[in-house]
């Protein structure tokens, strides 16, 4: 077992290196050997896919290797397509020398690798990849001509990424790698923020079902719980989450996750408390420019106001208790809570 795990470790390193400038030292023979190696491990993956013990040992080891770059092998499943991963990584890498590059491309011709009767060949897999790519481009054009965007929760791109995110969280949980906070934090710092938040929200809306590439029995919802916990621990991310996502999306998420809905209401209350009434303008304004404007606050509350119970009741309770704390005024312009409640009730009529 140990030699196999060492091999894996070594190959995972090769895979990580394949995306760096180090490949400039690779010759044709190195490229061929690396691909042979990948094929061998694919064979291993196929052979031991059904052995729970070997599988989990491999997964544990792979997880411990999963570096900050997010490269290398990530799961037992990934072992089955290490050759494609390696190929694409090298193809993208401009540092690869001319002769080595030639050797890489020649791997695409039939008969380049050893014939592997039970394995789909590298060429076939890459050809399918090209087919999928073309199909997706065609459908994008036909599905939303002129780049019209679907509602966030229905956007297939976001949905896919949300499923990927949940998949990673599940792997982290299964491998008992403990806290996924580390790499979630890394993704947060590297990915476009709004985009990350949208993906996280869509992930939190997913029904409890088998997700991408899942295997074995599911413990429903644990991945989203991990995500919720992480969000609650990261006040900066949570604030951005509650501030920048569209109100409707936030309401749906809050309806699903009580812990988040409490935090969301807490933030809204904080933001509301920062507003003061501008007598001249006759409206509520923030003390500083980054404060949440009244309109936005109202929009968010209005969406929550129309949510199905029990969320609706919680919102009402939160607003009323804030109003009570502020002196229970009924006249507009004295308490932001009174005015919010009046505006919401007005909107109802």
């Amino acid at each position: 077992m140990e030699p196999l795990l060492q091999q894996l470790e070594r190959f995972s390193e090769v895979l990580s290196v394949s995306g760096t400038a180090h490949v400039s030292t690779w010759g044709p023979e190195t490229v061929r050997r690396a691909l042979d190696w990948a094929r061998y491990l694919r064979h291993v993956a196929r052979r031991f896919g059904g052995h729970a013990r070997i599988r989990s040992a491999v997964e544990r080891r792979l997880r411990s290797l999963w570096g900050p770059e997010g490269r290398g092998l990530t799961s037992f499943q990934a072992l089955g397509r290490g050759d494609v991963q390696l190929f694409l990584s090298l193809l993208r890498n401009r540092a690869l020398g001319e002769a080595a590059g030639r050797a890489l491309l020649l791997q695409l011709l039939p008969g380049a690798g050893p014939r592997d009767a039970d394995a789909e060949e590298l060429q076939a897999r890459l050809a399918r990849l090209a087919r999928y790519r073309a199909a997706l481009l065609l459908l994008r054009e036909a599905g939303s001509p002129g780049g019209e965007r679907p509602a966030l929760a229905e956007d297939p791109v976001l949905l896919t990424q949300a499923q990927l995110l949940l998949g990673r969280l599940r792997e982290a949980r299964e491998a008992e790698a403990g806290d996924p906070g580390g790499w979630l934090g890394r993704v947060w710092t590297r990915a476009p923020r709004d985009h990350f938040l949208q993906v996280a929200a869509v992930a939190l809306l997913q029904p409890l079902e088998k997700e991408l590439g899942a295997s074995g029995p599911e413990t429903p919802g644990e991945e989203s719980q991990l995500l919720v916990r992480w969000l609650l621990e990261q006040s900066e991310v949570l604030a951005a989450f509650c501030r920048h996502l569209p109100a409707e999306l936030l309401t749906s998420v809050a309806g699903r996750h009580p812990a988040l809905s409490r935090a969301y209401l807490g933030l809204l209350t904080d933001w509301g408390a920062r507003l003061h009434y501008d007598l001249q303008k006759g409206t509520w304004v923030g003390a500083e420019s980054q404060d949440v404007p009244w309109e936005e606050l109202l929009l968010k509350f209005r969406s929550l106001w129309h949510a199905p119970p029990p969320l609706q009741e919680e919102v009402l309770a939160a607003l009323e208790s804030s109003r009570a704390r502020g002196g229970d005024f009924e006249v507009p312009g004295l308490s932001v809570w009174t005015d919010l409640l009046l505006a919401l009730r007005r909107g109802e009529r």
């Binding site: 494609v84 087919r131 999928y132 790519r133 065609l138 459908l139 956007d155 896919t160 990424q161 476009p192």
Partner: protein
């Protein structure tokens, strides 16, 4: 060999022009044209690869100077890249251009240009405003991991859009414009065989817009039908029914596909024929009268074209059997009147014929047979009634339910009670020779009746066992003296075979008699067909005649081993 290259080089020119034309605009018209040529272009790429793989890069460039331009244009045509195996052949062709031992900067430039093209078609892409690649790489996923999942989600999202358009026909906000559905159907042409794509195909097939005309393009129907017939995709029955209802050419193609399977060089047993037929989904689809009428029309044409070939007769009967079964399964209460399925004949006749013999007690079968005979005779021969139906139409209806004729023959030889001989004989004479005049039919009946009484005489108590020669003499088989004999030869042979199966004396000499009878290949096949059909019928009627069935099975096996 050089000749082939000349042909390929001119093909290159032709395709280069086509690709340039397609390149220039991306209208529905150019898309249509592209889809039309996809299979041909794939074949060209395959041939090109076969030619290129034997050459080195420099020779390729000499012989096909425009190949680079051609392949580059192909790399940017998503329809071609998405179609079947075209992208595979394209990748192979590109790799053949690689200069394995670059001598100068030109060679290196060529290689790096190929590198660029391959990177392009295999690269990640900006699917939307956001960079999917960055995020996914952040999570450690490669396109190979997420493209299939993304496609699945795109498909599902389009399906729900279609469903919404279907439900919210008048709500223009949530509705997919008809032009958009039309262009989506065009785009789907190369995609129908992709894994996980079926929900969209199904969604499109069952989508009915609110427009009077068909919105889906014919090429879409053709592509789906083709993939379905070649079993590249599987679709639920309602979707297939919808396909054939909306596009009759596809239905005709499905029927021709079935015919080709049924009437192959190898002779199929009825069981196998039944499997093919059921597998085709055509009997289930035919529950819809419009589909039934097209299918039935094709059976009619096939019968007319082949002069009533036994294979076509058998296929029509088995098809009807499966169709009736599907009809019963679909709905006990008929949704459509029989008249809608069989518009050219009397509805009461169709109703009687449709009765399942299995549900009719043995003793009532004779009465039913008599009734069928009477009704057919009235329809065909009764000039007085004035509404005389074309005899062919009556016969065509009758042969759908041919097992009644087989049962009539059987009853003539096995019935213990007094059988309505004249009625049964008429039925048989009509079945085998539908276009005879009534006078000719009377002659046939007289001849067959004579044979029948000779056979019955042989069965009566006798001291010596029957011999095959005696039997042959009784049926008049083997004597070529009387040319009129051959006219009803098939009918007499069938009675004779029934005699061998049903009478104790017949069973003892059955083998010998059949050997004598099977003097030509044609007759041997006829006997095989008869035995197969008889066993098939007994099987679905759950007939209880173990001795006859055992014998028939053995004889069938022996004869099949001979041919």
């Amino acid at each position: 060999m050089d000749q082939d290259f000349v042909g390929l080089a001119s093909d290159c020119q032709y395709w280069l022009q086509k690709l340039s034309a397609w390149d220039q605009s991306s209208t529905l018209e150019t898309q249509k044209d592209t889809c039309l040529y996809l299979p041909q272009f794939q074949e060209f790429l395959r041939q090109m690869y076969e030619a290129l793989k034997e050459m080195d890069s420099n020779t390729v460039m000499e012989r096909f100077p425009t190949i680079g331009q051609l392949l580059a244009k192909t790399c940017s045509n998503q329809f071609i890249l998405a179609y079947d195996e075209s992208q595979k052949f394209l990748i192979w062709c590109l790799c053949c251009l690689i200069n394995k031992e670059p001598q100068n900067s030109g060679d290196s430039k060529l290689n790096s240009w190929i590198w660029g093209l391959l990177s392009h078609i295999l690269s990640t892409f900006r699917f939307d405003i956001k960079e999917i690649g960055l995020f996914s790489q952040g999570l450690g996923y490669e396109p190979v991991d997420y493209y299939p999942a993304l496609l699945k989600n795109v498909v599902l999202s389009l399906v729900s859009k279609l469903r919404e358009s279907h439900l919210n026909g008048f709500n223009t906000q949530r509705r997919m414009a008809p032009e958009r559905v039309a262009s989506l159907s065009q785009v789907c042409v190369p995609l129908v065989t992709l894994p996980d794509f079926e929900p969209l195909v199904e969604g499109m097939l069952t989508y009915h817009g609110h427009e009077p005309q068909e919105v889906l393009c014919p090429a879409f129907f053709e592509a789906v039908n083709e993939a379905f017939l070649l079993k590249k995709i599987s679709l639920p029955t309602p979707a297939v029914v919808s396909l054939w209802l909306r596009h009759f050419p596809s239905l005709e193609k499905a029927m021709l596909h079935l015919f080709a399977k049924l009437i192959s060089r190898e002779r199929n047993s009825l069981r196998r024929i039944e499997c093919f037929i059921k597998d085709s989904l055509l009997p289930q689809a035919a529950c819809h009268p419009a589909i039934f009428r097209v299918v039935d029309e094709m059976f009619r044409c096939a019968l007319l074209e082949t002069d009533g070939a036994p294979e076509v007769l058998a296929a029509t009967q088995v098809f009807t059997h499966c169709f009736v079964e599907a009809l019963e399964k679909e709905n006990k209460q008929l949704r459509f009147a029989f008249k809608t399925y069989f518009p050219y004949t009397s509805p009461s006749l169709a109703t009687v014929l449709l009765q399942h013999p299995k549900d009719t007690p043995q003793e009532c079968r004779l009465q039913l047979l008599q009734r069928i005979s009477q009704m057919l005779r009235e329809a065909v021969e009764d000039q007085a009634c004035g509404s005389c139906v074309d005899p062919f139409e009556s016969w065509f209806l009758f042969i759908h339910f041919g097992s009644w004729a087989d049962m009539a023959a059987e009853q003539l030889l096995r019935s213990e009670t007094e059988a309505p001989v004249a009625a049964l004989l008429w039925l048989l004479a009509f079945y085998y020779r539908p276009l005879d005049s009534s006078q000719q039919r009377a002659q046939t009946m007289a001849k067959v009746e004579a044979v029948l009484s000779r056979l019955q005489l042989l069965m009566l108590s006798r001291s010596t066992p029957l011999s095959a020669k005696e039997l042959q003499a009784a049926t008049g088989e083997g004597s070529n003296a009387d040319p009129t004999q051959s006219v009803c030869g098939q009918l007499i042979r069938h009675l004779f075979l029934n005699f061998l199966l049903w009478t104790p004396g017949g069973r003892t000499i059955a083998r010998e008699a059949i050997t004598l009878m099977a003097c030509t290949d044609e007759i041997t096949y006829e006997i095989i067909g008869f035995l197969d059909q008889t066993l098939y019928r007994w099987d679905y009627l759950c007939s209880e005649a173990p001795r006859s069935a055992k014998l028939a099975r053995e004889l069938l096996q022996e004869l099949q081993a001979q041919v």
